[in-house]
């Protein structure tokens, strides 16, 4: 075999080794990344939460836990029931309903949302996350 042929074979082996090495590295890196991300959720996605209407009088709000996440359900005299995640979209603190101001206020960095969940002022980059609900008779079904 000529020297040129040898070099070609050497180059081929280098590329092959680099390819196999990269595949090995990527497969470990991928499984490591998956290992580090969140554990699979134990809660059933279809699980719904039911609350009696009388638990949330008109103009009042009630803090609930929905899918292991703090949430709030509010009874607006003009528009009815709404549910939102209480997690502030800024840095994850929990917002509180202020009955006197008719707003949701984040205690960490003074982010303020209106009762539709839209940002009124402060640093939150997006509105509060709404949770779907429906009314069946005297029961509110969240989720």
């Amino acid at each position: 075999m000529t020297l040129g042929g040898m070099m070609k074979r050497r180059r081929f082996l280098k590329i092959l080794l680099a390819f196999l090495g990269s595949i090995t590295f990527l497969s470990f890196a991928y499984s490591f990344l998956k290992f580090l991300t969140s554990l699979p959720s134990i809660s059933a996605d279809l699980q719904k939460l039911t609350i009696h209407k009388s638990d949330v009088p008109s103009g009042e709000a009630k803090n609930i836990i929905y899918h292991n996440t703090p949430a709030v359900i509010i009874n607006r005299p003009d528009k009815g029931y709404f549910a939102f995640s209480r997690t502030c979209t800024h840095l994850g603190c929990l917002v509180e309903y202020s009955k006197s101001n008719l707003k949701f206020i984040c205690p960490c960095h003074a982010g303020i949302y209106d009762l539709d969940g839209s940002v009124v002022s402060g640093p939150p980059p997006k509105p509060m996350t709404a949770i779907p609900l429906k009314i069946e008779g005297e029961t509110i079904i969240i989720g």
């Binding site: 990344l33 580090l36 991300t37 969140s38 554990l39 803090n63 836990i65 292991n68 996440t69 703090p70 997690t87 800024h90 840095l91 994850g92 603190c93 929990l94 509180e96 984040c106 205690p107 960490c108 980059p125």
Partner: protein, 288 residues
């Protein structure tokens, strides 16, 4: 007895030669000041954190149901537990301050400049590691303060486009700060960061020694201005000996470091412990 041990070591590993070369014959530039000891103080601070941290490990339980109680027990039940916990908590704040002060003084005196770029980059990485140490340790007492501070900090990566959410998820191990977060922060704090820090500290000190210590910009300038064409270690043949002159400065500063630490522990024990630091974490209630 001590002489015998020294002689025993000397004939085997040349102890006297090491001492002579690296301590007695090692010369410091004449215009060094007290700020040159800050790197040494950062090493002392790290050693203190490692020592007190290992002691705290004996009683600390890294589980949400027990972490807060175990830290309270260290503070109130374990004999002298409060000393080691306070040293660790106050020391962590002081360590970050010392590392930052070291960085600022090095920057202001221009010691980061050619040929010491690598030393500077290594130092910045060490400062980042120090801050990550602080962040990961902050959650461990599982108090309202630590829980919500960690919630805020681990939400910060979400501001980055594309990878932000994934980074946040990896940090927390889920959507929220939970027992998974506590476990991984504990692992990070006690088994991943310490060897990483030691590695970078070794690299940083290697560069300091290999490139040669820099003089201050005060007094006569002696750094060469010509382009770098070959490796040349910076030495100061007419400088002051490291021992005892500079060593003495280091000892003064070490005493000053511990004086500040114990002043805070004695007279300002709640400086780093507001009310929320004494309330167990409540994931459903953000403190006002």
């Amino acid at each position: 007895m001590l002489t015998k041990i020294k002689n025993w070591l000397d004939v085997r590993i040349g102890l006297n030669t090491i001492f002579q070369t690296h301590v007695l014959d090692y010369r410091m530039p004449k215009n060094t000041n007290i700020l040159y000891t800050l790197g040494f103080i950062a090493v002392i601070a790290y050693a203190t954190q490692a020592f007190t941290g290992i002691i705290l490990l004996i009683y600390y339980i890294p589980h949400p149901d027990h972490a807060f109680r175990s830290v309270q027990d260290i503070m109130t039940q374990v004999p002298y537990g409060w000393v080691f916990r306070q040293m660790h908590a106050v020391g962590s704040n002081l360590m970050i301050m010392v590392a930052m002060l070291h960085m600022v003084t090095v920057f202001l005196m221009g010691n980061y400049k050619r040929p010491r770029e690598l030393t500077w980059v290594g130092g910045v990485l060490l400062l980042i590691l120090t801050i990550v140490f602080g962040l990961s340790g902050y959650l461990l007492p599982w108090t309202q303060l630590s829980y919500w501070a960690t919630t805020v900090v681990t939400s910060m990566p979400t501001a980055f486009p594309v990878i932000g959410e994934t980074v946040s998820q990896i940090l927390r191990g889920g959507d929220h700060v939970s027992e998974t977060t506590l476990s991984r922060f504990f692992a990070l704090h006690i088994s991943i960061l310490p060897p990483l820090y030691l590695l970078f500290m070794g690299i940083h000190l290697f560069f300091v020694n290999r490139i040669g210590i820099s003089a201050t910009p005060f007094g006569k300038a002696d750094e060469e201005k010509r382009p770098l064409t070959e490796y040349k270690r910076k030495t100061y043949p007419d400088g002051y000996p490291y021992y005892p002159r500079f060593f003495q400065k280091q000892m003064y500063m070490m005493m000053a470091y511990f004086t500040v630490m114990f002043f805070i522990i004695t007279f300002l024990p709640t400086l780093y412990f507001p009310d929320e630091a004494n309330v167990p974490a409540d994931p459903f209630n953000t403190p006002q």
